[in-house]
């Protein structure tokens, strides 16, 4: 088990009358190499939760273990944790500040103690991974297009060599093509052993890319399972303020109309087959 989160509680320090209880008894384990999605309506606690994963926020009670080591232990090196668990914020391009693309990406590794040439080396590799060519290395980050800026910002986190990559709505504002590019990158990283944690509002994205989805509701975990299992529970999903992905919704609506659709799936091909079999009622018939 890569990370174990046990009974995490967190309340925002508030000066107002109503304290905001952001997380309640959140228990979750994260496996190495999985593609985990976190869903839930705005204010459900997902963003607060991910800020705990690299120690930006410290829980009021509960524990987080990274590779078996409790991160709240006295001598635990939090700096190291921030390197291992890379956190990409929403609109990460809003945090670019250096004069050149290369400098900006090398900033993280340098903070982690790498010397300049080492850091630049790591930066080059990260930029290559996200598909930013050599010719842009010495450009100002502000000269790039929106999609490029976002990739540079993500490279800034990748350059630290994280084992877990946490992304808070990384596709917001991107067009479909740039989205696909970004997900291809995440898939590739997963293939190389990186654990991916994705916070997303798009059930389509989750159903297409994630192995597992955890749904937050009012600071608690209310569902946890494969996208197919989670999304097919219509009532719970409604309760959490989420919607079925379009393809599954079509299947569900057919079921409601009394058509014998057997399984609610998200995948386009499987769904096509499911529907075809259901409406032509050939299940088992042709082979028999």
């Amino acid at each position: 088990m890569l990370m174990e989160i046990e009974k995490l509680n967190y309340t925002y320090p508030s000066s107002g009358e109503e304290a905001v209880h952001a997380l309640r008894d959140v228990t979750l384990s994260i496996e190495e190499g999985e593609f985990l999605a976190l869903a839930g309506r705005s204010g459900s606690g997902k963003s607060t939760f991910v800020r705990h994963l690299n120690g930006l926020l410290r829980a009021d009670s509960g524990d987080i273990k990274y590779r078996g080591q409790p991160i709240y232990a006295k001598k635990y090196p939090l700096g190291k944790l921030r390197q291992k668990v890379g956190l990409v914020f929403q609109y990460p391009e809003h945090q670019l500040f250096s004069r050149t693309v290369l400098d900006d990406v090398a900033f993280g590794p340098q903070n982690m103690g790498a010397d300049k040439s080492q850091a630049e080396d790591m930066a080059r590799k990260a930029l290559e991974k996200v598909g930013i060519g050599e010719e842009l290395f010495s450009s100002s980050p502000y000269e790039l297009s929106g999609g490029q800026m976002r990739r540079v910002a993500i490279a800034g986190v990748l350059a630290m060599g994280p084992e877990v990559l946490v992304l808070d709505e990384p596709t917001a504002g991107l067009d479909p093509y740039s989205k696909r590019q970004l997900f291809a990158l995440l898939r590739e990283m997963q293939g190389n052993g990186t654990t991916i944690i994705l916070v997303s509002h798009s059930m389509e994205e989750i159903s297409e890319y994630a192995d597992r989805v955890v749904v937050f509701l009012d600071g608690t975990v209310c569902m946890d399972g494969s996208p197919e299992d989670v999304f097919s529970q219509k009532e719970l999903l409604d309760g959490a303020g989420l919607e079925m992905p379009q393809i599954m919704e079509t299947l569900w609506k057919m079921q409601q109309k009394g058509i014998p659709v057997e399984r609610l799936v998200c995948d386009e091909e499987k769904a096509a087959e499911e529907i075809f079999n259901a409406v032509t009622d050939r299940r088992g018939g042709t082979n028999a």
């Binding site: 000066s15 009358e17 914020f89 800034g156």
Partner: protein, 266 residues
């Protein structure tokens, strides 16, 4: 730390105070602060405080907000108190090491701290009960005569009210950028002054860029909504004095003269 600044936070209620004309409130605040400077004897601050608490009650502001408004000034108040009681010469009360606290010093400290507290509370009350837009409109109308000598009062009022509107947005932004840079290994809480200054760039540059982007967006949005200049606009809220304001002016005048008289006599 930046998460709980309350300055400029309007407290949404429909109280008598909220409904008053902004100019009445501005005048009340200003006269109150002036009157405080006439008061030497700390005893007189007690009725001043009572008056203030009554106003808070009328405005339906929860008591916790009084402390909230003061919290930002806690350090300043403590410093003023200690400093004033130590530097003033006079009849010694007691000594700690080389420091001697005099009776005059203590009195002066109490006077100064009470003044600051009352001033801050009155100003906070104004902020809690008046939206920045109303405030801007009030200032604009009160200072409107300056337009005659080519002072761009309207534009300035608009700028101030927009600045207020964006304070919370920028505080939120600072928090996010700090979190993001901390995730890239910046430690904002350690190191000496020189080192800390170096860490400011990753915070300041993005904030600056964002401010420019936001102002460009906002200027475009304002232009699209037909904002050009002051002369050719109508107003949603006309500033008109009602009977409430007339009563309030009476109270303000009585209170101000009473405090000044007490300050001079007691």
């Amino acid at each position: 730390m930046l998460r709980d600044i309350t300055i400029g936070k309007y407290y949404n209620k429909a109280s008598v105070i909220h409904q008053m004309d902004c100019r009445t409130k501005l005048a009340g605040t200003l006269l109150y602060i002036i009157a405080l400077f006439f008061v030497e004897n700390p005893i007189v601050y007690i009725p001043c405080l009572v008056y203030l608490l009554i106003l808070y009650r009328l405005a339906a502001i929860p008591w916790s907000y009084i402390l909230k408004g003061l919290r930002g000034f806690a350090l300043l108040l403590l410093f003023t108190f200690v400093f004033q009681s130590l530097i003033t010469d006079g009849r010694a009360l007691f000594s700690i090491g080389i420091f001697t606290v005099s009776q005059e010093g203590l009195l002066k400290a109490v006077r100064l701290v009470s003044r600051i507290v009352l001033m801050v509370l009155m100003a906070s009350l104004l902020a809690y009960t008046t939206t920045p837009t109303q405030m801007a409109a009030g200032l604009e109308k009160s200072l409107g005569f300056l337009e005659k000598i080519k002072v761009p009062v309207h534009e300035m009022a608009m700028m101030v009210s927009i600045a207020f509107r964006f304070i919370p947005v920028f505080i939120e932004e600072v928090n996010i950028i700090m979190d993001a840079q901390a995730s890239r290994g910046v430690d904002f809480h350690s190191g000496n002054v020189v080192k800390r200054m170096g860490k400011v760039m990753p915070l300041v540059v993005p904030l600056f860029v964002s401010a420019i982007r936001r102002s460009a967006d906002l200027a475009m949005a304002m232009e699209a909504r037909g904002y050009t200049d002051a002369g050719s606009r109508t107003r949603y809220r006309e500033l008109v004095y009602t009977s409430k304001d007339r009563t309030a002016y009476l109270v303000i005048l009585v209170m101000t003269s009473a405090v000044i008289a007490a300050g001079l006599l007691v």
